[in-house]
Amino acid sequence: MDWNALSLSLKLSAITVAFLLPMGLIVGRFLAYHHFYGKSLLQAFLAIPLILPPTVLGYYLLVLLDGGSFLGHLLETLFGQSLVFSFEGLVIASIIFNLPFAIQPIQASFESIPREIREAAACCGLSPLKVLLKIELPLAWTGIVSAMVMTFAHTLGEFGIVLMVGGNIPEETKTLAISIYDKVQAFDNQAAGVMSAFLLLFSVMAISFTYLIAGRYQRHYA
């Protein structure tokens, strides 16, 4: 077991989740409650990470985030360091890659809150912020948890982008998935098997747990 890679993966997943939680909430809630021209196009754009081969997406991210590009330069002066080949860069890539996994379930869970419940909250004198905190978040939480679990599991397994943007630097950007890949490449099937099994076990447990509580929830309120 490559403990360094595991801890790095867990750290990356945790930080990605920490960033995507507020982003997913804001974007997901916005998409749930607003209708505008081009909304379906925007939703399609958010699904791009599902479609483009990760290595290719990784390459474009590398080009984009590198100090040579305008955006890259901007980010570099902002963060005081180059984002490619750094953990920070991985976090950004990981956030982009997980956007659809985080936003879609959150959007769906906000959409499923009846409009009248939110209106009733406003009629109870709650300001929009308080409606969010006291009514919407508690009612949407299973969707939010599901989004976070999926993002976490998915970041653990992501590999193509991480390899390209991160550069496979031990203790810095070499995640568990890359480590598994390396082991497979180096004919160390046993180590690869152990690590894959660990990854799978964790993910299956996380996801089945999510489905389980989602099912509970359905029975609870519906």
């Binding site: 209106e119 009733a120 909250a121 406003a122 009629c123 109870c124 409606v131």
Partner: protein, 374 residues
């Protein structure tokens, strides 16, 4: 018009068409009635600030909540409304007590729960404070919703079909509670319902909506017995609406005479109709008086008609019969009498009976052709 209470007009030509004007004083119950889709819920939502109208003015207790001309539009949570939603819209993740406490935002947490408990006691829900909405019956949910709406000490109470989801026995209990409740409140109460009996029973005044337009306002008895048009009469579920012709005007005797089904009907003098003019008239089913079988009484001289009973329906202790006045024209009069009266007078399908139309109960309306539309 008093400065307190609610004053409202709404006008809109796009999407949901609206042309509504109404007011409701403090301590008055105004029933909004009308068929499905007539805009009742929309009016309540506009008052609560949940629906934005094109043009409108909403004033409540001297506060201006909406004035499209002055671009005033107070946010929902800043209008002090108590809204009981059609399906209650309780917060499913909160207990009954917490549901009510949400409205007590201005108090400290401790006081909030205490006061919420006392409010639940007021609506007879002591002991059920900890239950979640799905663990409460329809009637109990409705009470939680009322308690929640009142917790805020609202400037107006809005009730959207509060009784539609509960069965008849519970409903009757809830009626009584609403009647008690309004005694203790000094704010306008607007009650949406599509049940005319409910409106009559509970409301001081009634406003009839149809396709987003307020057709008539007044006391339930007034709108029901003196509708301004046949459309209103039909919407108020009046069974006896007919066309006739004015044949004589006798101001000196305070009498106007109509020709209907080949017979003269005498009604109170109405100066605003001319002889020869076609009009529509109606009489409530309860004001068609049955002639006694064996002994005659003095009422029988008033607009007497005879006809065959072609329909006989028993309904909650009362019998409603249709009397065929004129067979070729398919003219039927509908009347209702208590069951014991029907028995005593041996009413049954096919027999001929005599009835009188009480002059005072006959109401004239402008002429409109009466099709039996679907």
């Amino acid at each position: 018009m008093p400065k307190t209470g609610l004053k409202l007009w709404l006008r809109q030509t796009h999407s949901i068409k609206l042309n509504i004007k109404l007011h409701c004083q403090n301590n008055e119950v105004l029933a909004l009635v009308g068929p499905s889709g007539s805009g009742k819920t929309t009016v309540l939502r506009a008052i609560a600030g949940l629906y934005s109208v094109e043009n409108g003015l909403i004033q409540c207790q001297q506060h201006c909540w909406l004035d499209t001309k002055k671009a005033i539009n107070v946010a929902s949570h800043q209008r002090a409304v108590g809204f009981v939603f059609q399906n209650y819209a309780l917060f499913p993740h909160l207990s009954a007590q917490e549901n009510v406490a949400v409205s007590l935002n201005h108090l400290s947490k401790n006081k909030r729960l205490k006061y919420a408990k006392s409010l639940l006691k007021k609506v007879h829900l002591e002991g059920l404070e900890k239950r979640y909405p799905m663990q409460l019956s329809g009637g109990q949910q409705q009470r939680v919703a009322v308690a929640r709406a009142l917790a805020r000490e609202p400037k107006i109470l809005l009730l959207d079909e509060p009784f539609s989801a509960v069965d008849q026995v519970t409903r009757r209990r809830l009626y009584k509670e609403l009647i008690e409740l309004r005694r203790s409140l000094s704010i306008p109460i607007i009650l949406v319902t599509h049940d005319l009996n409910e409106a009559t029973l509970l409301a001081d005044r009634l406003c009839l909506l149809h396709h987003g337009v307020s057709l008539q306002s007044g006391s339930p008895a007034e709108v029901s017995t003196q509708p301004v048009s046949t459309q209103v009469a039909k919407l108020m579920d009046q069974p006896n609406i007919f066309t006739a012709k004015i044949v004589e005007q006798k101001p000196e005797k305070k009498i106007t005479q109509l020709l209907w089904c080949g017979q003269i009907i005498e009604v109170g003098y109405r100066a605003n109709y001319k002889v020869g003019q076609k009009i529509c008239w109606m009489i409530p089913a309860s004001d068609v008086i049955l002639h006694r079988r064996r002994k005659s009484s003095k009422g029988e001289r008033e607009n007497p008609f005879t006809g065959k009973i072609v329909d006989y329906m028993l309904l909650g202790g009362y019998v409603t019969v249709s009397i065929e006045i004129n067979q070729p024209l398919k003219t039927y009069l509908s009347m209702s009498v208590p069951l014991h009266v029907a028995r005593r007078n041996e009413l049954a399908l096919g027999i001929f009976i005599g009835v009188s139309l009480l002059s005072d109960s006959i109401h004239l309306m402008p002429y409109e052709s009466l099709r039996n539309e679907f």
